[in-house]
């Protein structure tokens, strides 16, 4: 074997790729092909290291080419999975990259948990655990566009909350709000939307519910109020209901429920005044 061939082989054996193979050395054609092959592999690996996953490796297959392509394939799949996660699919899991898989999956699980917590915080009232105004409005809009009619709406307002806050403190006021929330939740179905939409105001959306069924729900609220433990704070609610037969009438149903709730409140005040007047000397 001539010296130049030996030198090229020694270079290859020490991990270097010779720049060129003299055409007239022994095994020049074979060594030339080997150098081209290794150079292409090197280029491909470099590009892969730089994060470019789009390159095609046009070399005859074999264990090295196959393994590099498998790595490229894994990275491409990981990229696709990451895009899906970015689009909100937190069910993606990596199971082919050892420790990285564990770290990545933990990250996705924590992101998912954080998202769930954020969604809960942004759609729920922290005091009562009921839905908040944001969620109520979104559901109101969604149901207005839906087909689940008739849709009934119940409005409820706590009587005497300001008085409880002023006379017994805000802890007592908060307790009253929680009790009102529990009573309303207990009186309707689990898939009805019960929301606290203001300080002392609640609203319930009852999909696929006519006015008679809504009135039955209100009766259950009255029953719960009547059956309260007489020892503690007593919840008193003013309540009204309205029913929409289609998306167009949702706002009108909301207004009906609100108006009736205020009528109920006015009636309660009138009755209280009458009782007070009768009792006064």
């Amino acid at each position: 074997m001539d010296d130049r061939t030996v030198q090229i082989l020694e270079e290859l054996a020490s991990g270097r790729i010779p720049g060129a193979v003299p055409a007239d050395c022994e095994y020049a054609a074979e060594l030339g092909r080997l150098v081209i092959y290794l150079t292409a592999l090197h280029q491909f690996t470099l590009v892969l290291c730089q994060g470019d996953l789009s390159q095609k490796l046009d070399l005859p297959g074999g264990p090295v080419v196959g393994s590099l392509k498998a790595l490229q394939s894994s990275l491409r799949y990981l990229t696709w999975q990451t895009k899906q996660i970015a689009a909100g699919d937190f069910s993606q899991r990596v199971d082919f990259m050892g420790d990285f898989s564990t770290a990545f999956n933990t990250m996705v699980e924590r992101l998912d948990a954080a998202r769930t917590r954020l969604v809960h915080l942004s759609t729920h009232d922290s005091l009562t655990g009921l839905y908040n105004r944001v969620y109520f409005d979104a559901e109101f809009e969604r149901l207005s566009r839906g087909r689940g009619f008739p849709v009934s709406i119940i409005m409820a307002d706590i009587n005497g909350l300001k008085q409880a806050n002023d006379q017994q403190g805000h802890v007592a006021g908060d307790l009253l709000i929680k009790k009102a929330a529990d009573i309303l939740s207990a009186a309707v179905r689990s898939d009805d939307i019960v929301a606290r939409i203001g300080g002392d105001e609640f609203a319930v959306i009852l999909p696929q519910t006519d006015i008679d069924t809504a009135r039955m729900a209100i009766s259950r609220v009255w029953k719960c109020i009547t059956e309260q433990d007489k020892k503690g704070l007593q919840v008193s609610l003013a309540i009204g209901a309205g029913t929409a037969t289609d998306g167009e009438s949702m706002q009108a149903a909301f207004k009906d429920a609100d108006d009736r709730m205020y009528q109920d409140k006015a009636e309660l005040k009138r009755q209280a005044a009458a009782v007070s007047s009768a009792l006064s000397p």
């Binding site: 297959g61 264990p63 196959g66 392509k69 394939s73 491409r76 699919d89 069910s91």
Partner: protein
């Protein structure tokens, strides 16, 4: 025509495993499957030629893909759900490990890989891809899911020296 056929496929041809194989169960060695498949290939190629053999395997894969979608995957319109169900079914049944590299349904282009493929993983290297059955299978799955026709071509295969089979699918027409 249908009435005169002897082998019109029905999912019921897969049989009741519990009833039929109370002791051996539903599993058989992969070599048995490959023995049958590659003997089929051999005889079909000898009798009808290479092109016809490939076409027959593509079409058989297509039929299997249609039935697989109907009976195993089920109707879905969400891409991620479709991929998830498919990945899970292929892994559970030992068909292969499916991964998606590109999924651009609007442009009608998908690139998927199948590792540890039922048909080819571990086979001796040759100068051609052999997963024509898989091509038809994937084509039918995509047609069933999207409603569009897809031409599927295997671009990398264990048999050409790669360690994972790669399929490019392009919507046609």
């Amino acid at each position: 025509m249908e009435k005169t056929r002897k082998y019109c496929f029905s999912w019921e041809h897969l049989g009741d495993m519990k009833l039929g194989r109370p002791n051996l169960g539903p599993h058989a060695r992969l070599e048995v499957y490959r023995l049958m498949q590659f003997c089929f290939r051999d005889v079909i190629e000898q009798q009808y030629g290479t092109e016809a053999a490939d076409s027959i395997f593509y079409n058989a894969g297509y039929l299997a893909g249609e039935e697989f979608y109907k009976n195993v995957i089920g109707e879905t319109t969400d891409l991620n759900e479709f991929v998830r169900k498919l990945q899970s079914a292929l892994r559970e049944l030992g068909i292969g490990i499916l991964r998606v590299e590109v999924a651009d349904l609007e442009a009608g282009r998908l690139v998927v890989t199948v590792s540890e493929d039922l048909d080819c993983s571990g086979l001796p290297e040759s100068s051609y891809e052999i997963c024509t059955y898989d091509e038809g299978f994937i084509s039918a799955l995509l047609k069933s899911f999207t409603g569009k026709k897809f031409v599927v071509k295997e671009v990398d295969c264990w048999c050409t020296g790669d360690r994972t089979c790669r399929f490019e699918a392009l919507a046609s027409g």
